[in-house]
Symmetry: none
DNA sequence: AAGTGGTCTAGACCACCAG
DNA sequence: TGGTGGTCTAGACCACTTT
Protein backbone atom coordinates (compact mmCIF):
# COMPACT_ATOMS: atom_id res chain seq x y z
CA UNK A 1 0.00 0.00 0.00
CA UNK A 2 2.24 2.69 1.38
CA UNK A 3 4.94 2.23 -1.18
CA UNK A 4 6.78 5.55 -1.28
CA UNK A 5 8.80 6.36 1.83
CA UNK A 6 8.81 10.01 2.80
CA UNK A 7 11.93 11.95 1.82
CA UNK A 8 14.21 12.71 4.73
CA UNK A 9 13.57 16.44 4.66
CA UNK A 10 9.84 15.73 4.93
CA UNK A 11 10.43 13.46 7.89
CA UNK A 12 12.28 16.27 9.61
CA UNK A 13 9.43 18.68 8.81
CA UNK A 14 6.90 16.21 10.16
CA UNK A 15 8.91 15.76 13.33
CA UNK A 16 8.95 19.50 13.95
CA UNK A 17 5.24 19.83 13.19
CA UNK A 18 4.47 16.97 15.59
CA UNK A 19 6.30 18.72 18.42
CA UNK A 20 4.34 21.91 17.72
CA UNK A 21 1.02 20.08 17.38
CA UNK A 22 1.50 18.22 20.63
CA UNK A 23 2.19 21.43 22.50
CA UNK A 24 5.72 20.41 23.47
CA UNK A 25 7.06 23.32 21.42
CA UNK A 26 4.90 26.38 22.14
CA UNK A 27 5.11 29.70 20.35
CA UNK A 28 8.58 31.19 20.75
CA UNK A 29 10.13 27.85 21.63
CA UNK A 30 13.70 27.48 20.45
CA UNK A 31 14.05 24.76 17.84
CA UNK A 32 17.24 22.67 18.02
CA UNK A 33 20.00 24.05 15.81
CA UNK A 34 20.69 22.57 12.42
CA UNK A 35 23.81 20.82 13.67
CA UNK A 36 21.87 19.37 16.59
CA UNK A 37 19.20 17.97 14.26
CA UNK A 38 21.91 16.61 11.99
CA UNK A 39 23.11 14.51 14.93
CA UNK A 40 19.62 13.48 16.00
CA UNK A 41 18.48 12.35 12.58
CA UNK A 42 21.79 11.24 11.12
CA UNK A 43 21.26 13.26 7.95
CA UNK A 44 23.30 15.97 6.31
CA UNK A 45 22.97 19.60 7.18
CA UNK A 46 21.58 20.50 3.74
CA UNK A 47 18.68 18.18 4.42
CA UNK A 48 17.90 19.72 7.79
CA UNK A 49 18.35 23.16 6.30
CA UNK A 50 15.79 22.48 3.59
CA UNK A 51 13.26 21.25 6.13
CA UNK A 52 13.64 24.26 8.40
CA UNK A 53 13.81 26.71 5.50
CA UNK A 54 10.56 25.44 4.05
CA UNK A 55 8.84 25.60 7.41
CA UNK A 56 10.05 29.19 7.74
CA UNK A 57 8.75 30.00 4.25
CA UNK A 58 5.41 28.54 5.29
CA UNK A 59 5.33 30.76 8.35
CA UNK A 60 5.63 27.94 10.88
CA UNK A 61 9.11 28.89 12.06
CA UNK A 62 11.06 32.09 12.35
CA UNK A 63 14.80 32.00 11.66
CA UNK A 64 17.38 34.58 12.71
CA UNK A 65 20.93 34.39 11.44
CA UNK A 66 23.36 34.15 14.28
CA UNK A 67 20.60 33.56 16.80
CA UNK A 68 18.51 30.51 16.16
CA UNK A 69 15.22 29.07 14.97
CA UNK A 70 11.95 29.58 16.84
CA UNK A 71 8.33 28.52 16.64
CA UNK A 72 6.55 31.43 14.98
CA UNK A 73 3.67 33.33 16.43
CA UNK A 74 0.45 32.01 14.83
CA UNK A 75 0.06 35.35 13.08
CA UNK A 76 -1.99 38.45 13.49
CA UNK A 77 -5.05 39.28 11.47
CA UNK A 78 -8.55 38.01 11.59
CA UNK A 79 -10.37 36.65 8.64
CA UNK A 80 -11.77 38.51 5.71
CA UNK A 81 -13.87 35.67 4.49
CA UNK A 82 -14.60 34.27 7.88
CA UNK A 83 -15.47 30.71 8.60
CA UNK A 84 -19.14 31.23 9.27
CA UNK A 85 -21.71 28.55 9.52
CA UNK A 86 -24.32 29.10 6.82
CA UNK A 87 -27.09 27.83 9.10
CA UNK A 88 -26.15 30.50 11.62
CA UNK A 89 -26.18 33.17 8.94
CA UNK A 90 -29.58 32.17 7.70
CA UNK A 91 -31.05 31.98 11.19
CA UNK A 92 -29.54 35.35 12.10
CA UNK A 93 -31.50 36.82 9.22
CA UNK A 94 -34.61 35.32 10.72
CA UNK A 95 -35.05 32.70 8.03
CA UNK A 96 -35.41 28.96 8.23
CA UNK A 97 -32.41 26.83 7.38
CA UNK A 98 -32.66 23.33 6.07
CA UNK A 99 -30.06 20.99 4.57
CA UNK A 100 -30.66 18.21 2.09
CA UNK A 101 -28.04 15.52 1.70
CA UNK A 102 -27.41 14.31 -1.84
CA UNK A 103 -24.22 12.28 -1.42
CA UNK A 104 -22.29 10.71 1.39
CA UNK A 105 -19.53 8.13 1.70
CA UNK A 106 -15.89 7.10 1.75
CA UNK A 107 -14.05 7.79 -1.46
CA UNK A 108 -10.61 6.72 -2.67
CA UNK A 109 -8.11 9.55 -2.84
CA UNK A 110 -7.41 10.75 -6.38
CA UNK A 111 -4.26 12.50 -7.54
CA UNK A 112 -5.96 15.87 -7.30
CA UNK A 113 -7.08 15.18 -3.74
CA UNK A 114 -3.61 14.01 -2.76
CA UNK A 115 -2.40 17.35 -3.96
CA UNK A 116 -5.07 19.40 -2.22
CA UNK A 117 -4.55 17.56 1.06
CA UNK A 118 -0.78 17.68 0.63
CA UNK A 119 -0.55 14.11 1.80
CA UNK A 120 0.49 11.35 -0.57
CA UNK A 121 -0.21 8.61 1.95
CA UNK A 122 -3.94 9.28 2.28
CA UNK A 123 -5.91 6.17 1.39
CA UNK A 124 -9.46 7.41 1.45
CA UNK A 125 -11.46 10.48 2.42
CA UNK A 126 -14.91 11.23 3.75
CA UNK A 127 -17.06 12.92 1.15
CA UNK A 128 -20.38 14.71 1.43
CA UNK A 129 -22.67 16.84 -0.72
CA UNK A 130 -25.32 19.00 0.90
CA UNK A 131 -27.74 21.57 -0.47
CA UNK A 132 -28.53 24.36 1.97
CA UNK A 133 -31.92 26.02 1.71
CA UNK A 134 -33.12 29.33 3.07
CA UNK A 135 -36.91 29.26 3.45
CA UNK A 136 -36.88 26.29 1.07
CA UNK A 137 -34.94 28.22 -1.59
CA UNK A 138 -31.58 26.58 -2.38
CA UNK A 139 -28.71 28.99 -1.75
CA UNK A 140 -25.60 26.82 -1.50
CA UNK A 141 -24.15 23.51 -2.61
CA UNK A 142 -21.60 22.22 -0.11
CA UNK A 143 -19.26 19.63 -1.61
CA UNK A 144 -16.87 18.57 1.13
CA UNK A 145 -13.93 16.22 1.67
CA UNK A 146 -12.72 15.53 5.20
CA UNK A 147 -9.45 14.02 6.42
CA UNK A 148 -10.53 10.85 8.26
CA UNK A 149 -7.90 11.20 10.98
CA UNK A 150 -9.11 14.66 11.85
CA UNK A 151 -12.71 13.58 12.31
CA UNK A 152 -12.96 9.79 12.65
CA UNK A 153 -16.59 9.92 13.77
CA UNK A 154 -17.59 12.28 11.00
CA UNK A 155 -20.36 10.10 9.63
CA UNK A 156 -21.90 9.45 13.02
CA UNK A 157 -23.36 12.95 12.80
CA UNK A 158 -26.77 13.93 11.48
CA UNK A 159 -25.85 16.57 8.95
CA UNK A 160 -29.37 17.65 8.29
CA UNK A 161 -29.40 19.09 11.81
CA UNK A 162 -25.79 19.91 12.60
CA UNK A 163 -23.86 21.34 9.67
CA UNK A 164 -20.43 19.91 8.87
CA UNK A 165 -18.90 23.32 9.54
CA UNK A 166 -20.44 23.46 12.99
CA UNK A 167 -19.38 19.91 13.81
CA UNK A 168 -15.82 20.30 12.57
CA UNK A 169 -15.36 23.57 14.43
CA UNK A 170 -16.56 21.87 17.61
CA UNK A 171 -13.96 19.12 17.49
CA UNK A 172 -10.87 20.81 16.09
CA UNK A 173 -9.29 24.27 15.96
CA UNK A 174 -8.63 25.89 12.61
CA UNK A 175 -5.11 27.23 12.30
CA UNK A 176 -5.16 28.32 8.71
CA UNK A 177 -7.62 29.03 5.93
CA UNK A 178 -7.31 29.29 2.18
CA UNK A 179 -10.06 30.67 -0.02
CA UNK A 180 -10.22 30.71 -3.77
CA UNK A 181 -13.18 32.49 -5.33
CA UNK A 182 -14.30 32.08 -8.92
CA UNK A 183 -17.28 32.93 -11.08
CA UNK A 184 -18.53 30.04 -13.18
CA UNK A 185 -21.30 28.88 -15.45
CA UNK A 186 -22.95 25.99 -13.57
CA UNK A 187 -23.24 22.55 -15.08
CA UNK A 188 -26.57 20.78 -15.43
CA UNK A 189 -26.38 19.11 -12.01
CA UNK A 190 -25.62 22.33 -10.23
CA UNK A 191 -28.34 24.15 -12.13
CA UNK A 192 -30.86 21.56 -11.04
CA UNK A 193 -29.78 21.51 -7.39
CA UNK A 194 -29.92 25.30 -7.16
CA UNK A 195 -33.02 25.66 -9.37
CA UNK A 196 -31.23 28.17 -11.55
CA UNK A 197 -32.35 29.90 -14.73
CA UNK A 198 -30.40 29.52 -17.92
CA UNK A 199 -27.18 31.56 -18.18
CA UNK A 200 -27.25 32.45 -14.53
CA UNK A 201 -23.69 32.42 -13.20
CA UNK A 202 -22.50 31.03 -9.88
CA UNK A 203 -20.05 32.19 -7.29
CA UNK A 204 -17.76 29.36 -6.25
CA UNK A 205 -15.71 29.40 -3.08
CA UNK A 206 -13.05 26.75 -2.71
CA UNK A 207 -11.87 26.56 0.84
CA UNK A 208 -9.20 24.53 2.63
CA UNK A 209 -8.84 24.49 6.40
CA UNK A 210 -5.76 23.44 8.30
CA UNK A 211 -5.72 21.86 11.75
CA UNK A 212 -2.68 20.58 13.57
CA UNK A 213 -0.47 21.39 10.63
CA UNK A 214 -2.37 19.46 8.01
CA UNK A 215 -5.31 19.99 5.69
CA UNK A 216 -8.40 18.95 7.63
CA UNK A 217 -11.10 19.62 5.09
CA UNK A 218 -11.50 20.79 1.51
CA UNK A 219 -14.86 22.19 0.55
CA UNK A 220 -16.39 23.67 -2.60
CA UNK A 221 -19.29 26.04 -1.97
CA UNK A 222 -21.43 27.00 -4.96
CA UNK A 223 -23.80 29.96 -4.68
CA UNK A 224 -26.32 31.29 -7.19
CA UNK A 225 -24.94 34.71 -8.18
CA UNK A 226 -28.41 36.20 -8.06
CA UNK A 227 -28.98 35.16 -4.47
CA UNK A 228 -25.66 35.59 -2.75
CA UNK A 229 -22.62 37.80 -2.42
CA UNK A 230 -19.58 37.60 -0.20
CA UNK A 231 -18.71 40.37 2.15
CA UNK A 232 -15.68 41.01 4.29
CA UNK A 233 -14.46 43.94 6.27
CA UNK A 234 -11.41 44.18 8.44
CA UNK A 235 -8.84 46.51 9.86
CA UNK A 236 -5.28 46.43 8.62
CA UNK A 237 -2.11 47.20 10.48
CA UNK A 238 -0.10 49.93 8.75
CA UNK A 239 3.12 48.01 9.36
CA UNK A 240 1.71 44.67 8.37
CA UNK A 241 3.00 44.57 4.84
CA UNK A 242 6.65 44.00 5.68
CA UNK A 243 6.49 40.26 6.17
CA UNK A 244 4.60 39.75 2.98
CA UNK A 245 7.07 41.75 0.99
CA UNK A 246 9.98 39.78 2.32
CA UNK A 247 8.20 36.57 1.59
CA UNK A 248 7.36 37.60 -1.94
CA UNK A 249 10.97 38.56 -2.48
CA UNK A 250 12.31 35.10 -1.75
CA UNK B 1 24.57 51.36 -2.66
CA UNK B 2 23.84 47.77 -3.56
CA UNK B 3 26.51 46.25 -1.36
CA UNK B 4 25.15 42.72 -0.94
CA UNK B 5 25.40 40.62 -4.10
CA UNK B 6 22.42 38.42 -4.87
CA UNK B 7 22.83 34.74 -3.99
CA UNK B 8 23.46 32.57 -7.01
CA UNK B 9 20.13 30.76 -6.79
CA UNK B 10 18.40 34.14 -6.90
CA UNK B 11 20.37 35.15 -9.96
CA UNK B 12 19.20 31.99 -11.69
CA UNK B 13 15.60 32.72 -10.68
CA UNK B 14 15.88 36.27 -11.99
CA UNK B 15 17.30 35.01 -15.27
CA UNK B 16 14.37 32.67 -15.78
CA UNK B 17 11.84 35.37 -14.87
CA UNK B 18 13.49 37.77 -17.33
CA UNK B 19 13.12 35.28 -20.16
CA UNK B 20 9.45 34.83 -19.34
CA UNK B 21 8.83 38.56 -18.99
CA UNK B 22 10.50 39.35 -22.27
CA UNK B 23 8.28 36.85 -24.05
CA UNK B 24 11.19 34.71 -25.18
CA UNK B 25 9.82 31.86 -23.09
CA UNK B 26 6.04 31.71 -23.60
CA UNK B 27 3.63 29.49 -21.68
CA UNK B 28 4.55 25.86 -22.19
CA UNK B 29 8.11 26.67 -23.28
CA UNK B 30 10.66 24.11 -22.25
CA UNK B 31 13.17 25.49 -19.75
CA UNK B 32 16.76 24.26 -20.16
CA UNK B 33 17.52 21.23 -18.04
CA UNK B 34 19.30 21.54 -14.73
CA UNK B 35 22.53 20.23 -16.17
CA UNK B 36 22.30 22.68 -19.05
CA UNK B 37 21.88 25.60 -16.63
CA UNK B 38 24.75 24.28 -14.52
CA UNK B 39 26.98 24.69 -17.58
CA UNK B 40 25.58 28.10 -18.51
CA UNK B 41 25.96 29.62 -15.07
CA UNK B 42 28.94 27.69 -13.80
CA UNK B 43 27.19 26.79 -10.57
CA UNK B 44 26.41 23.45 -8.95
CA UNK B 45 23.29 21.51 -9.70
CA UNK B 46 21.94 21.97 -6.17
CA UNK B 47 21.92 25.69 -6.77
CA UNK B 48 20.05 25.43 -10.06
CA UNK B 49 17.72 22.90 -8.48
CA UNK B 50 16.82 25.28 -5.68
CA UNK B 51 16.09 28.08 -8.13
CA UNK B 52 13.82 25.97 -10.32
CA UNK B 53 12.16 24.27 -7.36
CA UNK B 54 11.24 27.58 -5.76
CA UNK B 55 9.87 28.90 -9.05
CA UNK B 56 7.78 25.75 -9.32
CA UNK B 57 6.55 26.19 -5.74
CA UNK B 58 5.56 29.74 -6.65
CA UNK B 59 3.61 28.49 -9.63
CA UNK B 60 5.83 30.04 -12.29
CA UNK B 61 7.18 26.75 -13.60
CA UNK B 62 5.87 23.24 -13.90
CA UNK B 63 8.27 20.33 -13.40
CA UNK B 64 7.76 16.73 -14.50
CA UNK B 65 10.15 14.04 -13.39
CA UNK B 66 11.71 12.30 -16.33
CA UNK B 67 10.34 14.89 -18.74
CA UNK B 68 11.48 18.42 -18.10
CA UNK B 69 10.64 21.87 -16.80
CA UNK B 70 8.14 24.14 -18.51
CA UNK B 71 6.73 27.64 -18.17
CA UNK B 72 3.42 27.27 -16.33
CA UNK B 73 0.12 28.66 -17.47
CA UNK B 74 -0.34 31.95 -15.63
CA UNK B 75 -2.62 31.34 -12.68
CA UNK B 76 -3.96 34.88 -12.53
CA UNK B 77 -4.98 34.82 -8.95
CA UNK B 78 -5.35 37.91 -6.88
CA UNK B 79 -5.49 38.28 -3.17
CA UNK B 80 -8.73 38.46 -1.23
CA UNK B 81 -7.17 39.59 2.00
CA UNK B 82 -4.36 41.92 1.14
CA UNK B 83 -4.41 44.96 -1.01
CA UNK B 84 -1.96 44.09 -3.70
CA UNK B 85 -1.14 46.10 -6.75
CA UNK B 86 -2.25 44.26 -9.86
CA UNK B 87 0.81 45.45 -11.75
CA UNK B 88 3.00 43.89 -9.06
CA UNK B 89 1.08 40.65 -9.24
CA UNK B 90 1.44 40.44 -12.98
CA UNK B 91 5.14 41.26 -12.90
CA UNK B 92 5.80 38.73 -10.15
CA UNK B 93 4.37 36.10 -12.49
CA UNK B 94 6.91 37.15 -15.07
CA UNK B 95 4.35 38.84 -17.34
CA UNK B 96 4.09 42.32 -18.77
CA UNK B 97 1.59 44.75 -17.29
CA UNK B 98 0.05 47.62 -19.20
CA UNK B 99 -2.84 49.92 -18.36
CA UNK B 100 -5.18 51.71 -20.76
CA UNK B 101 -7.15 54.69 -19.51
CA UNK B 102 -10.70 54.95 -20.79
CA UNK B 103 -12.14 57.66 -18.54
CA UNK B 104 -10.81 60.33 -16.24
CA UNK B 105 -12.23 63.40 -14.58
CA UNK B 106 -14.02 65.15 -11.73
CA UNK B 107 -17.58 64.02 -11.23
CA UNK B 108 -20.39 65.42 -9.08
CA UNK B 109 -21.25 63.25 -6.10
CA UNK B 110 -24.46 61.30 -6.51
CA UNK B 111 -26.66 60.00 -3.72
CA UNK B 112 -25.15 56.55 -4.00
CA UNK B 113 -21.64 57.96 -3.78
CA UNK B 114 -22.55 60.07 -0.78
CA UNK B 115 -23.64 56.87 0.85
CA UNK B 116 -20.58 54.89 -0.10
CA UNK B 117 -18.20 57.62 1.06
CA UNK B 118 -20.29 58.18 4.18
CA UNK B 119 -19.94 61.93 3.67
CA UNK B 120 -22.93 64.06 2.72
CA UNK B 121 -20.85 67.21 2.27
CA UNK B 122 -18.75 65.86 -0.58
CA UNK B 123 -19.10 68.12 -3.61
CA UNK B 124 -17.20 66.19 -6.24
CA UNK B 125 -14.95 63.16 -6.59
CA UNK B 126 -12.10 62.07 -8.79
CA UNK B 127 -13.12 59.31 -11.15
CA UNK B 128 -11.05 57.01 -13.32
CA UNK B 129 -11.55 53.94 -15.44
CA UNK B 130 -8.57 51.81 -16.40
CA UNK B 131 -8.25 48.51 -18.19
CA UNK B 132 -5.32 46.41 -16.99
CA UNK B 133 -3.68 44.05 -19.46
CA UNK B 134 -1.44 41.07 -18.85
CA UNK B 135 0.68 40.40 -21.93
CA UNK B 136 -1.87 42.52 -23.84
CA UNK B 137 -4.80 40.40 -22.64
CA UNK B 138 -7.33 42.46 -20.65
CA UNK B 139 -7.76 41.03 -17.16
CA UNK B 140 -9.35 43.78 -15.08
CA UNK B 141 -11.51 46.88 -15.33
CA UNK B 142 -10.70 49.30 -12.54
CA UNK B 143 -13.50 51.82 -11.97
CA UNK B 144 -12.36 54.07 -9.16
CA UNK B 145 -13.60 57.03 -7.17
CA UNK B 146 -11.15 58.91 -4.96
CA UNK B 147 -11.78 61.37 -2.15
CA UNK B 148 -10.17 64.64 -3.36
CA UNK B 149 -8.94 65.62 0.08
CA UNK B 150 -7.08 62.35 0.52
CA UNK B 151 -5.19 62.71 -2.76
CA UNK B 152 -5.36 66.30 -4.05
CA UNK B 153 -2.69 65.70 -6.70
CA UNK B 154 -4.30 62.52 -7.92
CA UNK B 155 -4.58 63.59 -11.53
CA UNK B 156 -0.99 64.81 -11.75
CA UNK B 157 0.01 61.15 -11.95
CA UNK B 158 0.59 59.13 -15.09
CA UNK B 159 -1.66 56.16 -14.46
CA UNK B 160 -0.45 54.20 -17.40
CA UNK B 161 2.86 53.84 -15.58
CA UNK B 162 2.02 54.08 -11.89
CA UNK B 163 -1.20 52.34 -10.93
CA UNK B 164 -3.72 54.19 -8.76
CA UNK B 165 -3.28 51.50 -6.10
CA UNK B 166 0.46 52.02 -6.04
CA UNK B 167 0.13 55.79 -5.91
CA UNK B 168 -2.53 55.82 -3.21
CA UNK B 169 -0.59 53.36 -1.05
CA UNK B 170 2.47 55.59 -1.37
CA UNK B 171 0.76 58.69 -0.06
CA UNK B 172 -1.64 57.36 2.56
CA UNK B 173 -1.94 54.40 4.94
CA UNK B 174 -4.93 52.09 4.73
CA UNK B 175 -6.58 51.48 8.06
CA UNK B 176 -9.57 49.46 6.98
CA UNK B 177 -10.84 47.53 4.00
CA UNK B 178 -14.23 46.31 2.89
CA UNK B 179 -14.72 43.82 0.11
CA UNK B 180 -17.90 42.68 -1.55
CA UNK B 181 -17.60 39.93 -4.13
CA UNK B 182 -20.24 39.05 -6.69
CA UNK B 183 -20.59 37.05 -9.87
CA UNK B 184 -22.31 38.93 -12.69
CA UNK B 185 -23.19 38.84 -16.34
CA UNK B 186 -21.27 41.74 -17.90
CA UNK B 187 -22.99 44.49 -19.84
CA UNK B 188 -22.04 45.38 -23.40
CA UNK B 189 -19.42 47.92 -22.39
CA UNK B 190 -17.69 45.57 -20.01
CA UNK B 191 -17.82 42.78 -22.54
CA UNK B 192 -16.10 44.98 -25.08
CA UNK B 193 -13.41 46.26 -22.72
CA UNK B 194 -12.54 42.76 -21.55
CA UNK B 195 -12.95 41.17 -24.98
CA UNK B 196 -15.33 38.58 -23.55
CA UNK B 197 -17.30 35.88 -25.27
CA UNK B 198 -21.07 35.74 -24.99
CA UNK B 199 -22.46 34.40 -21.70
CA UNK B 200 -19.09 34.57 -20.03
CA UNK B 201 -19.56 35.69 -16.41
CA UNK B 202 -17.46 38.16 -14.49
CA UNK B 203 -16.15 38.32 -10.98
CA UNK B 204 -16.77 41.73 -9.45
CA UNK B 205 -14.96 43.01 -6.39
CA UNK B 206 -16.27 46.13 -4.79
CA UNK B 207 -13.72 47.54 -2.39
CA UNK B 208 -13.67 50.51 -0.07
CA UNK B 209 -10.50 51.65 1.70
CA UNK B 210 -10.38 53.85 4.75
CA UNK B 211 -7.59 56.31 5.57
CA UNK B 212 -7.49 58.81 8.37
CA UNK B 213 -10.90 57.71 9.48
CA UNK B 214 -12.75 58.30 6.24
CA UNK B 215 -13.38 56.47 3.00
CA UNK B 216 -10.43 57.29 0.79
CA UNK B 217 -11.36 55.38 -2.31
CA UNK B 218 -14.15 53.22 -3.68
CA UNK B 219 -13.26 50.91 -6.50
CA UNK B 220 -15.08 48.35 -8.59
CA UNK B 221 -12.82 45.70 -10.09
CA UNK B 222 -14.29 43.54 -12.83
CA UNK B 223 -12.47 40.38 -13.84
CA UNK B 224 -13.25 37.91 -16.62
CA UNK B 225 -14.20 34.73 -14.78
CA UNK B 226 -12.26 32.67 -17.27
CA UNK B 227 -9.04 34.55 -16.63
CA UNK B 228 -8.98 35.37 -12.96
CA UNK B 229 -9.74 34.07 -9.53
CA UNK B 230 -9.38 35.53 -6.08
CA UNK B 231 -7.29 33.92 -3.43
CA UNK B 232 -6.89 34.49 0.26
CA UNK B 233 -4.87 32.53 2.73
CA UNK B 234 -4.10 33.39 6.29
CA UNK B 235 -3.45 31.94 9.65
CA UNK B 236 -5.82 32.17 12.54
CA UNK B 237 -4.55 32.10 16.09
CA UNK B 238 -5.68 29.20 18.26
CA UNK B 239 -2.71 29.52 20.61
CA UNK B 240 -1.12 32.11 22.82
CA UNK B 241 0.59 35.40 22.22
CA UNK B 242 4.16 36.31 21.56
CA UNK B 243 6.89 36.41 24.13
CA UNK B 244 10.42 37.72 24.69
CA UNK B 245 11.96 35.79 21.85
CA UNK B 246 9.65 37.30 19.29
CA UNK B 247 10.29 40.70 20.76
CA UNK B 248 14.03 40.25 20.44
CA UNK B 249 13.43 39.14 16.90
CA UNK B 250 11.87 42.39 15.82
C1' DA C 1 35.74 32.72 20.21
C1' DA C 2 31.90 29.94 19.62
C1' DG C 3 27.61 29.11 17.74
C1' DT C 4 24.03 30.20 14.53
C1' DG C 5 21.83 30.29 9.98
C1' DG C 6 22.72 31.32 4.54
C1' DT C 7 24.75 29.63 0.81
C1' DC C 8 27.45 26.68 -2.24
C1' DT C 9 30.07 22.68 -4.21
C1' DA C 10 31.02 18.27 -6.65
C1' DG C 11 29.95 14.54 -6.45
C1' DA C 12 26.14 10.52 -5.89
C1' DC C 13 21.94 7.27 -6.27
C1' DC C 14 17.30 6.90 -7.50
C1' DA C 15 12.58 6.96 -10.05
C1' DC C 16 10.72 8.22 -13.99
C1' DC C 17 9.92 8.91 -19.04
C1' DA C 18 11.14 8.92 -23.79
C1' DG C 19 13.35 7.00 -27.81
C1' DT D 1 19.46 3.57 -22.83
C1' DG D 2 20.12 8.32 -22.01
C1' DG D 3 18.15 12.33 -20.20
C1' DT D 4 15.20 14.29 -16.76
C1' DG D 5 14.06 15.83 -12.15
C1' DG D 6 14.10 14.42 -6.73
C1' DT D 7 16.92 13.78 -3.18
C1' DC D 8 21.06 13.39 -0.38
C1' DT D 9 25.94 13.77 1.35
C1' DA D 10 30.13 15.69 3.60
C1' DG D 11 32.38 18.88 3.39
C1' DA D 12 33.16 24.37 2.95
C1' DC D 13 33.13 29.65 3.49
C1' DC D 14 30.59 33.46 4.99
C1' DA D 15 27.79 37.04 7.81
C1' DC D 16 25.92 37.51 11.81
C1' DT D 17 24.99 37.51 17.06
C1' DT D 18 26.14 36.32 21.57
C1' DT D 19 29.41 35.44 25.20
Amino acid sequence: MNSAPQPLYRQVKEHVLRQIRSGDWPTGHRVPSENRLVEEFGVSRMTVNRALRELADEGVLRRLQGVGTFVARPSRQTSLVELRDIADEIRSRGRVHRARMTARGRVPTTAVLHQRFEDASLGHLFHLVLVHLENEVPVQIEDRYVHPQVAPQFFDQDFEHVTPTEYLLSITPVSELEHVVRATVPNATERALLELGIHEPCLVVHRRSWSWGRVATDVTLTYPASRYELRGRHRTSPTGTLDGVQHAAS
